[in-house]
Amino acid sequence: MNLKRMAKTFAVGAVMTVLSAFAQTSHSSEPRIKMPYKKTGLDSRQAAAHLLSRFSFGATPGQVDEVVSMGLDKWLKQQLNADLPDDEVNKRLEGYNTLDLDNSTIVNTYLNPGQLIRVLIMQHLIDKDSLQSAGRKEYQDKLHTLMVQAGYKPMQDLQRELINQKIIRAAYGQNQLKEVLTDFWFNHFNVSLTKNQCEQYIQTYERDAIRPNVLGNFETMLVATAKHPAMLEYLDNASSVSNNNELIRKQENNVQQLRSKLQLRKMNNNDTTGEAGMRLMEQVMNAQKRQGLNENYAREIMELHTLGVDGGYTQKDVTEVARALTGWAPAPLYNNGIAKKIMDIAGEERMKKQGFVHEGDFLFRANRHDQGEKTILGRRFPANGGYQEGMEVLHMLATHPSTAKFIATKLANRFVCDTPATALVNRMADAFLQTNGNIKAVLITMVNSPEFWDQKALREKVKSPFELAISAIRATNADIQQPFQIYAWCMKMGQRFYFYQAPTGFPDKAGYWINTGSLLNRMNFGLAFATEKIPGVKLNLAALNKKNNNFTLAYAAGNNAMISQVTGILIGSPEFQRK
């Protein structure tokens, strides 16, 4: 048997796939779709295959022909609209409990270990001493039992459903471009399950801050991430505090006055009522003072989210942006937490009067904001700008020419090749600027460019492990009953998604994914997948062969075991690692 020929047949077959015909509606701010693939010598089948390889997680059997007969423009339009019904995904997500929850419910149901122990002690379900003697395993088991009894749920449920839904949507979703872009933008605005403080929020972060905006406006997405508890915690803005504001000065005054009053009372009447309360106030104030400015988010929003490292900002700008964003924090959500109680006592009206802004899970804490004047990227922000000042900073960053260039480069990098041509990037950056960051317009500009269709760009990108796994599922119409098993393989192949620790996100280049260990694991994945050795993977390769002709060679190879083996080799083959 000639494996090379087989691989080629398979690769072409798998790369070809689906689409449906839709009327093209026009949006004034977006250019018309005019894909110049004929100019670069591609026929419509090749072009459809290329388009599917970049704008989907891989073609399903027969999909390339479907796209050709429907028309490439129509398919793309449909994907840009991203409103196809997703019945298959919905069916597979039935029984998932966490996907629709709001942050408040999550925070009060899925406790972290520290919270859990405090709650159990508070409810007298455990006492500290009873734990002294218990072994680690025993102790964990006991905690788990008590947790369930008390009506709380394990954090692992949250993580597992988050991971599984990503796999299911990517494999079975009809709006493939939206799934690809959700993956892209999440990675761009990376947050990580490795950080405890933000792990509870990551599911809503992807759902609410990323997903609705992936084909929308860049600034809207930037603001949504900036205000989301996941990002506020991940890059520490939640703990960036200034004492330079009226509220703190007033509070200090009050405490001082109270202190004198109580001292007087103690001296005169030996009366100590109120002292405990004062000590608490002092503690709260000192706690705030101990904290200070934290520049992490300010640095990364410029370096990684908007301007890019060479985008023309200085360390001074970092500090000034950090000052402008002091007070941007998650609203207290944990019902047993002291912050929530304080906020409930204060009341919305009073907080509003003091300059607090409470929007859903976001809280602008006026008493932590630096009221002073700032100068950012040469522009002066007068004192007392409050919450609005931060919004203006984000607007300035989102619409900056450096940002346009940085985002254009990153998109071209993902969708065209690891080293995109300058002319292409410039064209996309212009589209970004002209439309104030309309992502659709930038993508259309990209596919309207000959560079996108350059023969050298075809199959030039190497799939990430996640892309490889999902494209294997799609190419074989596989039924995945246990998505988490696919995740385990992605980890083995080097991509523990949602756990990338650094705010840079996974590097988007072949050299990062391909090394000796990961490559052998890719081959082993192919074999394990095709031979159904991965639990919950169901394939019907014979049916696939009869229906689509793509597997004729494999089928000709003989018995079913042989078909699986050959399919495994094809999935592990170099051609299938490319897109």
Binding site: L3, K128, Q197, A502, N515, L519, L527, G568
Partner: protein, 419 residues
């Protein structure tokens, strides 16, 4: 000049698994370049162990002679005594936890140094951030894309090989992020084509893969494919499965023990490894950490016995290897209300190797009096972790480029390596 044929005929081939039909390309290239028969034979290896969760340095290596310690930790205080199971005195000031006994001979022989009061200048008490800073090597910049160990292998000036930087973990650790090739593998036995069926069938499948990767037009896949198959044959999982440590050596059957055992295998195979990484968890002892027995004692015993087994197993290779441990921060000087300790600042670390000026507890610790503690509660950081890491990396791997290794840092190396 040695050509490939001569190399194949040489004894070097005996190092590789039986049935290997040629010299791996990267080995041959290295042999050609360096004109030596066994290109990796005397490679220096730096082995790092990250203790995730923040080890209580004040209990591992206790400044027992400071009278403040007993006041800060009434029920966690330990000190050396003549009785079995108590601490071992090191220098009249510090004592080693009884669970670390198996490391004591190395200290006594002068090949293990302890550094105390070590940590990061950034005072974050978040595990995530502190690990991130320590592994990137830039305590004030989260955006640093690479890890310090990845930068270190890039500075040794040696040829890239698939095994140059190996982490015995399932995912690439932050320390290994970067442009230089680095490998994360939990289990070396995964380094093979795995499928159901007879060895003959598996072999045939492996050959099919090899052929396909040999023919691909993608340069990166072609190259990585070649190296994968070379590396696979070189390692030969059968040898790994049947590996026998040196006489009398017993690795603990723990994740750390397994990781160090596999690192020993790679060292003995001379595959060109220069940096190896392993990690150990469970150090976040907020509750009931215990004293001579208990959670921390168990963890310390595993840590100590794993390292001791590794070192004894290395035998003739000890001159080539230096091992360094690290943890993101230390724990509060006082005990908390639940028999444990909370997140603090400085901890201690261990450096083991024949080129280490050991037998000494390097420190600048003043006292545990409240005035000398950071924020009135924590052992302050009096030695910057970078001054230790750079001394060990420079001294052992012979690299001298602190600007690349630790940008932002202009401090002085701690003088703990033999000249």
């Amino acid at each position: 000049m040695i050509n490939r044929r001569a190399f194949m005929k040489s004894g070097a081939l005996a190092l590789f698994a039986a049935g290997f039909g040629g010299v791996p390309g990267f080995v041959a290239r290295a042999a050609d370049n360096r004109k030596i028969w066994t290109p990796y034979k005397k490679n220096k290896v730096l082995v790092c162990i990250f203790q995730r969760g923040a080890m209580d340095g004040l209990m591992a290596v206790s400044p027992y002679a400071d009278p403040n310690l007993k006041l800060l930790r009434p029920s966690l205080f330990m000190s050396p005594a003549k009785t079995e199971g108590s601490m071992t005195d090191l220098d009249g000031r510090f004592a080693l936890h009884p669970s670390l006994n198996s490391l004591h001979p190395f200290f006594a022989e002068g090949r293990m140094a302890i550094v105390h009061g070590v940590g990061s200048p950034n005072n974050t008490r978040s595990h995530f951030d502190a690990q991130d800073y320590m592994e990137s090597g830039t305590p004030f910049n989260k955006g640093t894309a690479s890890g310090w160990l990845n930068r270190a292998v890039g500075l040794t000036g040696h040829d890239a090989t698939p095994f140059r930087a190996v982490s015995l973990t399932s995912a690439l650790p932050r320390s290994f992020y970067g442009d230089n090739e680095a490998l994360a593998i939990n289990n070396l036995q995964d380094f093979a084509i795995q499928m159901r069926g007879t060895p003959v069938a598996t072999h045939a499948v492996a050959q099919s893969f090899e052929q396909l990767y040999d023919q691909t037009s993608s340069e990166i896949l072609n190259k990585a494919g070649k190296e994968s198959f070379d590396a696979m044959k070189m390692l030969n999982v059968n040898n790994i499965r049947n590996y026998q440590p040196a006489q009398g050596v017993m690795y603990p059957a723990s994740p750390l023990g397994n990781a160090l055992k596999q690192i020993a295998i790679l060292i003995k195979m001379d595959v060109g490894m220069e940096v190896a990484f392993a990690e150990s968890g469970g150090w976040d002892t907020h509750y009931n950490q215990g004293t001579a027995i208990g959670a921390l004692a168990n963890n310390l015993r595993d840590f100590s016995n794993s390292i001791a087994a590794f070192w004894q197993d290395l035998a003739a290779y000890q001159d080539e290897v230096t091992l360094m441990t690290m943890t993101e921060f230390g724990r509060t000087a006082y005990q908390n209300g639940t028999g444990g300790t909370d997140h603090g600042r400085a901890s201690c670390l261990f450096v083991l190797g024949n080129d280490v000026a050991g037998g000494k507890v390097y420190n600048n610790i003043k006292s545990l009096a409240k005035a000398d503690l950071e924020d009135g509660r924590d052992l302050p950081v009096s030695i910057d972790f970078r001054s230790v890491f750079s001394a060990v990396a420079n001294g052992h791997l012979k690299i001298n480029d602190d600007k690349t290794l630790f940008p932002e840092w202009g401090g002085k190396e701690l003088n703990l390596m033999k000249a």
